[in-house]
Amino acid sequence: MEEKTRAVLVIGGGIAGIQAALDLGDMGIKVHLVERKPAIGGRMAQLDKTFPTNDCSICILAPKLADCFRQPNITLHTLSEVKNVTGQMGDFSVKLRKYARFVKENECTNCGECATKCPVKVPDEFDMELRKREAIYPYYLQGVPAVMTIDRENCLYLTRGVCRICEKFCTRKAIDFEQKDTDITLHVGAVIVATGFDPFDPSGIPQYGYKRYRNVIMSLEYERLICASGPTGGHLTRPSDKKPAETIAFIQCVGSRDIKNNRYCSSVCCMHATKEAMLAYEHNPKVKSYIFYIDLRAAGKGFQKYVARGEQEYNISYIRSRAAKITEDQKENPIVWYEEPQSSKTKKMTVDLAVLATSLMPRKDVEELAKVLGVELDEYNFFKTNPLSPLDTTRPGIFVCGCCREPTDIPESVAQASGASGRAAETVMR
């Protein structure tokens, strides 16, 4: 068999993509792991802790990142995107665009000197825009590859031809403004899509007041706030006045189970809201949390017990009612309006902080990717699969796993990723 068709392309460097790449690499199959962000890690790197064990997300992810980096069969292409796929199962030709980082990966030691000199301050994407970063920055502290990146859209030199201070201060001469975007062609036998999700933008439900009221935030923002390595060092403070949040309302099904927005269920939100409430209590035993839900979905291994623990030991109350709207008072305290179960009376609850459990959605540009790959999407724009061949897309040789297939929790994403790697292995060994 020719060398070229034995490789596999994995698109997406989150936990699913990483697991698929590691399994394939460990099998002895060459993998090209493509990630559009400057570092791999995906959504899991943004989480503080993960259910149902409440172990630290980055702690269990970091060894996998290191393994990916060191596995000789895996070629990591960060800051890269798939632009074109032709051919068929067993023999695909992929055009990959590698965007310039403007930093030499072999020289940069991630010491951070350059960032201390950079005059530009822009919202940091990884931290959900809750803090600012410089134009030369690490995507996140534990990211792999552990190097800096220059944001071409905000760098003064790249946009206006001035500055270049970072270059002057880099003792390793690692800054290189001459770098160009390059296109390369990869030959692979199979493709695995693991491109993950984007959160629903709750501005789409104006009655919840997101962006209008400062103390109404969405779940990924909460995750960054409660995270020890996040913008507030793990202190859960209200965005408006930095005071600690002691009464918290978690609003479920924001943008899901909703005829106007997305009809489907986002699967993981009942669990992650419970987790988030638990973490708040762990940080501050004065915290009282209320979770407004429709149906409590805790069917995975250990999930039901987790929820019971939340109720019994972490001061969480579950209120079976869909929040109708959120307003705020003069102190910027969110007020949750809901129908009280049983009495059907309209009630109001004033809290310090409201957290919207936003639905997991397909990536904003998934249609473009689907066209490039030549695969079909379902009616919700997730990659279409058949219940009896759950990891196969509509194009032979292209497989899928994780949240780009359907909202999924981490254990299932990992199992699916291993499954997809097996399917891909079957293809390239044929």
């Binding site: 460990d26 290191a66 010491c111 250990g302 039901q304 990891l391 990992v414 199992a415 097996g422």
Partner: protein
Amino acid sequence: MNEVRVGVFVCHCGTNIGGFLDVPELAKYALNLPNVVFAKDNQYTCSEAGLTEIKNAIAEKKLNRVVVASCTPRTHEPLFMSTCKDAGLNPYLFQFVNIRDQCSWVHMQDRERATEKAKALIRMGVARAVLLEPLEETEVEVNPCALVIGGGITGMTCALSLANRGFEVKLIEKEDRLGGTLNSLYKLYPTNEEASRLVQEKTREVEKNPKIEVLASSEVKEVEGFVGNYNVTVRQGEKERLFKAGVIIVATGAETLKPVDMYGYDGKTVVTQLELERMLKGGRLNADTVVMIQCVGSRNEKRAYCSKVCCLTALKNAMLIKEANPDAQVFVLYRDMVTQGTKYEDYYGKARETGITFIKYSLERQPVLENGSVRVYDEPLGEELILPYDLVVLSTPMIAHNDSRDLAQKMKVPVDENGFFLEAHVKLRPVDFATDGIYMCGCAHWPANLSESISQAYGAASRASIPMSVGHVKTEPLIPVIDEDKCSGCGLCELTCPFKAIQVEETEKGRKAKVMAASCKGCGACGAGCPERAITMRHFTDEQLVAQVFALAEVTP
């Protein structure tokens, strides 16, 4: 040539270390330490230039130990180890000293004390380096044959995936035919596919595949060995056969709880969902009013889990009843409707449109059967309803097979408090056992619907194929070494190890601990607990650790 010759390289790391510690001073200090024959500082030890310096020094100064004092071993140790290897020095003769992340970067205001601390750390590092020994990574061959226990859809999918990759598979099935749980089902959600058709299709595929040997009416009697080299005794009737397998996959599925003494269960007018499916399949359903009760025997104190599939099963069967008899009245009494994801939420929507009535009840006020009716308190409505019924269907949870603990013991693998097999890591290794070379998938792991079971089957097959694809497993070099004269065979080490990498066996000298290097992870938990001090942990020996303590205290041992 028994002389230990240590070379020390102290890194400036630009200004990261050099800006806060007196690096040239550290190199000078190192040179005066016992056994150090060469020491120098460099700007970036990890650069091409730095690595070349190390290699040259090893050759020219005949170094047999290398110490690098710089950033952190967690990022750079592999690089320096392979540099040593390139220069012909065993990579385990390398010692890393962290003077950046754990010194210069965290004591930026106190150059003097930081430098003194760095001296102590280097002193400790050199002391350990002197006692390091060369270690070899050996390999153990892996038998490219997989043993799959369980011939349901999950087991069959797994077997086929492996067979398609060219591996030999033995498929062991307890019953006399393949198909497992699906043999008892009528139609499958969400497509209403016929279960028997799927079973037939898969069974034919399995039977046609030359790589798969099916052993029906067979059970696992004994399991011995370690990854790559398992010996499994299978009993088929009176006969016993011994199989050698590289990997084992557990796909034994689950049972459904029989609701004995619950809701007046009688198998006639109060039945289980499985019994309902049998009636539907045979066209024998004569009921105009059907009341389904969810969460019977689950999500309570005794069984504190949600069985995931029962809501969908109820919806499926409810819709089939309505399909056969559009005038039938069907009530589903539920606590939470668990229909997650894209496809299943739609399924729920569809069910509601067919006119099925959903009534929410709570754990505190459960439905009661009396006088031919079901009395239930509708929570959202806040009212009690009386539903006369022709048939009551109880949705009971999946439970572990009653012999799952037995099988677990034979394989020396753990089960959780509900009897389901316990994976290596709930999040990151959901289909692996902690014991290398054994995997699981499907309902043996946890209640799963068909789609999930199939994904997991592919997942387990993929994981199992890794050691078989490579053909060998590297054995951990950081293994315990047993002094058999001291070992009393007490078995504490075996108890301590979660990977079954150290086990007590009969030898001519009596019962002694034996190490399965292929399964060992090098943690050292066994060594630090051995009552007879019979265990030496390679690369982290007591002597090496104590030497570091002595060095810190500046005591010559």
